[in-house]
Symmetry: C2
């Protein structure tokens, strides 16, 4: 496997500027390759990944040795580890992205104005996307494929723990691009553990980096949001609430709350706070809390909740602001839907919010008054996922307010241009 | 007229943070007011503007006196001056915005996924929009109305030359909001000439300012883009090209080129460079250049162009990068559509690009390969305007790559949220 990625230079900033320029040139070629060209490219990337499996596993062994020496936890080691099956799984994900509809060139809207001009709003790639991520090596392939699907060049910055694996994966993806005659610089990986590289990317590389997508923990995302001079698409926290209304179906309230909290506790769409309508707290909270407890969840609650279900620690102000990412939930009794909306407006992080009620008018009020990327009526918050939304793949869940919110798939990695067809019009 | 806007405090940063907090609260009220509530508010703002005409004209006289003392040019003084007719015109613009369709709450897309979830993508306001602008006092009203139409609170920072007029206009708009029971803080004006106020806005006011729209000259926009820690929707330059292809209709080429350059030379959609296909430069350039000359346009050209039409100065590299905003055009002979695309890719600013040809395949290639907000076939670049696009009003033409490109109207001042309707789904 040829490694044509350049090594970190003495002058890291110059290296990154050069990567940006080459990414810009490659993005133009990717854009011109057309939908079929990009589809073939992603299939070729998948094939090349399989072909490079020995090299990838060897590189991964280096990362695992380093991780062991560094004292990574078992959970982190597991996330880092690649096996033949996992490499095959990454290739399968690439093929799934290759089969997604290509958003570039599709008409979002088209209309005619009184001057006779025929105006169309047409999707076009964002350009060059920088992705900064932490340990998991599969992100290298997933993010690169989603960028290629949407006609964008990817500039990847992997976590230091998975750097060798990521280099091997990026090499394979670039080999796939070369095979179909597309510029390998459409996928580039920053080959250094120097954290200064992130800082250089955040300045936008002299106009050659259009957007940054941070994928990682809160400290990474906070750093990116604080320092970035270019737009950021990312999510800071998923502090998701489940509000159980007086008009809830009791069994549905139990099932959804337990699923929203406990199905997987470490993902951003897991519920962190249960809000109980005071009107039914007495009757329904004991059943929900028992079910949570049986599922292995610990609870902290306000005075009203603890008066109903004793097996709860006292919830502090901090609890309402904590994304546990663990089998713990905070519980508060609120004054109906208005109390729930007020709590969520104060403590929510614009990720995913859920109401359980049989009263459609209340659901519509919740939809209207809650400001979040995803608002769910009568289903688990754990559906906050690009795959479950029918997007096929996602690069993350956005909690900002610009460009895209919620799951960010291929379509959200595009912008539009106006294509105007005239017949000789001059403006009076 | 009650002036409830607060005066600049000793601590400008604290003042601005407080304005941001109040804007955030007001934006929630504006969002909840519904489409009819916002429509009534904008009509009331127009009525209040008419009622405040004496106060506005008196304040404008202060600005005019200040401008005269400062030695503003006649053109600048004219842009600054308000008359009863101009105030009526601003009120009419507000009423036109009140009659625009309200984008908030409209469904962009809706689909069902295999789990049975019904997913809708629904427009929602951006939140709080900061607008930083230069001399023209009418922007205060236009920008505020477009923000209210789209459910957003506006934080306005007027140019110092028009500050007194802008304060009087903002007072009137706020009186209109009060009259319909909406929070006046949905429209706030920064009441200081201290340039540090801009710097504070660019930091995002602790999360209470979602996006900055700069409207002004290149130095303002460059400062905003360099310093902003929050997203910017704005345009830096409109270096628009007209490419006359070998297959152009000759008379159409003459008419469009003269109109694109000379209808109004000071606007961002005016053409700055004429690219002539080498195949027809000999026969068609003399006619186009003569027509431009007759219209009062001076020309600079490359050697090939000057060999055909002698009355041109030599074009330097700088000329290809210059937005003249004046009756001057640069002329270059290029090698067909590929040469035109290469020139535009090198020198264009992603604003508006035009091809004149009767060959539809070439037009489609131009649409596909040019990366700009607006790409026009067989019509003048001067159609680059929200009104001409049927948007009713615009806050500017965006040349960035994120969120919106081209004319930014009410719809582009929104983002979306996902509204998910379930029937009790828990995720396996």
């Amino acid at each position: 496997m040829a490694d044509t990625l350049h090594a970190p230079s003495e002058d890291l900033h110059e290296t990154l500027l050069d990567m940006g320029r080459r990414a810009r040139a490659a993005s133009a070629a990717l854009s011109k390759a057309g939908q079929n060209g990009r589809t073939h490219a992603i299939f070729a990337m998948a094939d090349a990944l399989i072909a490079a499996q020995p090299a990838i596993l060897a590189a991964n062994q280096d990362d695992l040795d380093g991780g062991r020496a560094k004292g990574l936890t078992d959970a982190m080691m597991d996330r880092l580890a690649l096996t033949p099956d996992r490499v095959a799984g990454i290739a399968a994900s690439l093929r799934a992205v290759a089969e997604l509809p290509d958003p570039v060139g599709s008409e979002i809207a088209r209309w005619t104005v009184p001057s006779g001009l025929d105006i169309a709003r047409v999707r076009t790639p964002l350009g060059v996307i920088g992705i900064i991520y932490e340990a998991r090596p599969n992100v290298t392939a997933d993010a690169a494929a989603l960028c290629v699907r949407s006609g964008n060049a990817a500039l990847l910055r992997a976590g230091s723990e998975s750097l060798q694996s990521s280099i091997a994966i990026a090499d394979a993806l670039r080999a796939g691009l070369r095979k179909v005659g597309l510029p390998e610089d459409a996928v580039q990986l920053v080959q250094t553990k120097d954290r200064a590289a992130v800082g250089h990317m955040l300045t936008g590389l002299q106009g050659n980096l259009d957007v940054i997508v941070p994928r990682g923990g809160k400290s990474l995302v906070e750093r990116v949001q604080a320092e970035a001079r270019i737009p950021v698409i990312g999510h800071l926290e998923g502090l998701c609430h489940v509000y159980v209304d007086a008009a809830a179906d009791p069994q549905m309230a139990i099932d959804i709350t337990v699923n929203a909290k406990m199905r997987r506790t470490g993902i951003c769409g897991s519920a962190e706070t249960l809000l109980m309508d005071a009107k039914i707290a007495d009757t329904l909270l004991p059943a929900i809390a028992s079910a949570l407890k049986d599922a292995g969840c610990t609870m902290v609650g306000d005075d009203a909740a603890r008066a109903i279900f004793a097996d709860m620690e006292v919830a502090t102000e901090d609890d309402w602001r904590t994304e546990y990412l663990a089998p713990t939930i905070s519980v508060r009794v609120v004054d109906g839907i208005d109390g729930a909306i007020e709590h969520i407006t104060t403590y929510g992080t614009s990720h995913t919010e859920c109401i359980i009620t049989e009263d459609t008018a209340k659901a519509e009020k919740f939809f209207s008054d809650i400001d979040a990327g995803i608002i769910i009526h009568n289903a688990s918050t754990q559906y906050a996922d690009g795959g479950e939304f029918g997007m096929g793949a996602e690069i993350g869940i956005a909690t900002g307010r610009i460009h895209a919110r919620g799951p960010v798939g291929a379509e959200q990695l595009t912008i539009f241009k106006y294509v105007v067809r005239g017949t000789g019009q001059t403006r009076p």
